[in-house]
Assembly symmetry: C2
Homo-oligomer: 451 residues x 2
């Protein structure tokens, strides 16, 4: 009988994360101190992160052991299933084989707990009392809230104001796990106050929320900050997705011809693709690997590869990455998530090396694909992976034209149970496609420091 | 290392449902025709259900094969995991071992698709074009919408007006799967119109929504009605939960001393417990088996065991069951689901036979337990299984007093992602306990027919 899921046992959960950095043909450019513009050292990150994560951020080891305490919590939802999308294939009438790794089985409903748990663990180990963070739609904030509950850490979240108001249930979810949630900009930080003074109805942005969370952590020795994407250690924690998927594709007896993953900060994409990129660099397989981003926030396909700040206020180290400018505020009509102004420096570097491709897709195509997916495969995707689904469908339709049995692999990085308002707008025919114009990109790029 | 999950493979999914009826020491009383009050025959059910389900409803076979087409869709989420709640046990500091079978992994997020899928399948096989149904909070309506999408059936749902207004996202979910959703009472049926004429802001009830859905199906030869709980065939479809749990408890090397399950219409409880009750009747184990219901809707513990209608308008056959009266409307302050006026006739009968026990729990205790559960086990429970969790915690605390290593098994029949408003009210300290008074029960019982 047809097999739908490829399941691993608990004892098959990978016990090491994969660090792609030492395997790359060239090292990624270093982060720079925002004042001196010299390469940033561990001491520059120490007010924000525990030493173990700083070490991981700059590690030259290919593999790093996952602590037993972390594996123990991973087991709440890991290993996650790999599905063959037989029903979607049938609907599309394609010879392609579509596989998807599903990360929505985690308590928070996305891949984010894969890094939230180790981040909370290392902070707890180093005596930290509280973690601060930002969140947009709420996937990351709820993941960190869940993780902090596991290690008795306090958790304080600055949520982009537009989402805070539109999605009250995400706040409830974070509170269920014991976190405190503020809308950003807030009157708790000087930066937030200054923005609210200009505009009391400010809708916020991820960059602003990062500035607030960083600003509340740095001055306190027992408070640290946690970032849900972008940084090397975050992407490395997510490689557990790709390591599991490698084993599961083996079970299915297939190797991918094309791997597509949605990219906002890059952690879902890096998590799925890096282990496959390793095998590709070793010559064990030869998949095309492609980032998929929203047309409304096209950092890779339309941003510039330059040093920029990770936050709006310019408090973080400078990172070389594809950026739309740290003052970029995505159009509120964009419902699909993935709204960060920059792309992970590591993904940006790999893209510059020509090891991966990128494309952008507008949101109506994404939600059209998501509806086809939900009605066949059952699962209602979060807005972010609708981009990956739309890209997989594009590939499957290409295969239909050529008649090739293309093997497509993607990650369904979360379910959409807490993002149904986006679907409501789509079903009502009210979703508007918004492709970022050259002029608005040029405007936002003005804030990028001239080096 | 500690094992958290007991996972089966796809090829271990049970291929038969278990029908407990022939194994009982006495047969359950028959349903009666609402007019003649004579035992209802297949022809009385034919306007509502396809013949295959009517046969299952009165079957004397102990096992019924699950069709391959149904198994194929079950594989989207089945087999479901069985968890050992190590973290909750640690928090409670109890020697008890708590196991829970988790059904929230289904696309609709609850156990309901276990019966929605076969119901849609048999209807499609018999040429039905459209299914109608009722839904309260939306778990059943979304499950049937999902199932209908799999077999290209239309699906029309009457949702209790109070939930329709308070939970717009459930409607969106049903629409994603292609269903049409109306608030109940609606102006689409004569009964609905008459209620709206009395009170344009009528908040509705499950009984009223059933009357509307039944009324829209019965006159049309290509439209049938689907019920999400209460009936024998529904409970039988759900026994796949208990059959899997039996295998998984074997893997864990444990037999339950106590089994607790939340009961609204009885399908989750019957699904988990009937296979264990079979083993108990065979002398293979001896668990205490207990129903847990809300203090606000205590049909088993405070209702009377009498013939009553399944719906408010009195259109269905009469069923002998524990009932609060078919005109019963639960207090809107009750947030915990499980609001049906009657209990499954089969569960009622088994309760009368003394094979299972029952208790009721008020909602603040339920949500207190749910918060302890979410912060340790990670999963945010739906309001319904918070009752099961509270009962499991009661048992675990009893075990702590006696020092016994009691093995407790329960079902976490769904996640609460679409029910976070209940948690919001609890976290704000605004949840009010409401135990149904003797006088209001007496009032509702006045509508029960005198036989």
């Amino acid at each position: 009988m047809t097999q739908h899921k490829y399941l691993l046992n608990e004892n098959q959960i990978p016990t090491q994360w994969y660090n792609i950095v030492p395997d790359l043909p060239a090292p990624p450019p270093p982060a720079l101190h925002p004042g001196t513009r010299e390469p940033a050292g561990p001491e520059d990150f120490a007010p924000l992160f525990p030493m173990e994560l700083i070490k991981q951020e700059v590690s030259q080891e290919s593999y790093i052991d996952i602590p037993g305490e972390v594996l123990d919590i991973y087991k709440i939802w890991r290993p996650s299933p790999l599905f063959r999308a037989h029903r979607l294939e049938k609907l599309l009438d394609t010879p392609a084989k579509i596989f998807y790794k599903y990360e929505g089985v985690s308590p928070a409903g996305s891949h984010k707990p894969n890094t939230a748990v180790p981040q909370a663990f290392y902070n707890a180990q180093e005596g930290v009392r509280k973690l601060t963070t930002e969140t947009g739609a709420g996937q990351w904030g709820s993941s960190l809230a869940f993780a902090c509950a596991q290690f008795d850490l306090e958790c304080e979240v600055w949520q982009v104001a537009a989402s805070y108001r539109a999605k009250p249930h995400r706040k409830t979810m974070m509170e269920i796990w014991g976190a405190t949630v503020h809308p950003s900009p807030s009157d708790l930080t000087e930066y937030g106050k200054s923005l609210l003074a200009e505009n009391p109805d400010h809708t916020g942005s991820l960059g602003i929320a990062i500035s607030e969370a960083v600003g509340m952590a740095a001055p306190h020795p027992d408070v640290r900050y946690a970032l849900g994407s972008v940084l090397n250690h975050v992407l490395m924690h997510q490689t557990i997705i790709g390591e599991e998927a490698l084993l599961q594709m083996q079970m299915a007896g297939e190797t991918p011809d094309v791997l597509v993953g949605c990219t906002g900060g890059g952690s879902n994409f890096g998590g799925l693709s890096f282990p496959f990129l390793r095998e590709k660099m070793k010559g064990n397989m030869n998949p095309t690997i492609r980032c998929v981003e929203p047309a409304a926030c096209p950092s890779l396909t339309k941003g510039e590869y330059r040093y920029d700040f990770g936050d709006s206020a310019g408090m973080t180290p400078l990172m070389k990455m594809h950026t739309l400018g740290h003052s970029f505020v995505p159009d509120p009509i964009h419902a699909g998530g993935l709204r960060y102004h920059g792309m992970s420096p590591l993904v940006s570097h790999i893209y510059e090396l020509g090891l991966v491709e990128a494309e952008s897709i507008a949101q109506n195509e994404c939600f059209t694909g998501a509806l086809q997916f939900a009605r066949t495969e059952g699962i209602v995707p979060a807005p972010e992976p609708t981009h990956a689904i739309a890209a997989a469908i594009r590939e499957a339709m290409r295969a239909k034209e050529t008649g090739e049995e293309t093997v497509i692999l993607t990650a369904l990085c979360g379910h959409g149970h807490l993002d149904l308002a986006s679907y409501e707008s789509f079903l009502a025919g009210k979703m508007v496609d918004h492709s970022l114009s050259e002029s608005s990109i040029a405007e936002a790029m003005k804030t990028v420091p001239v080096m």
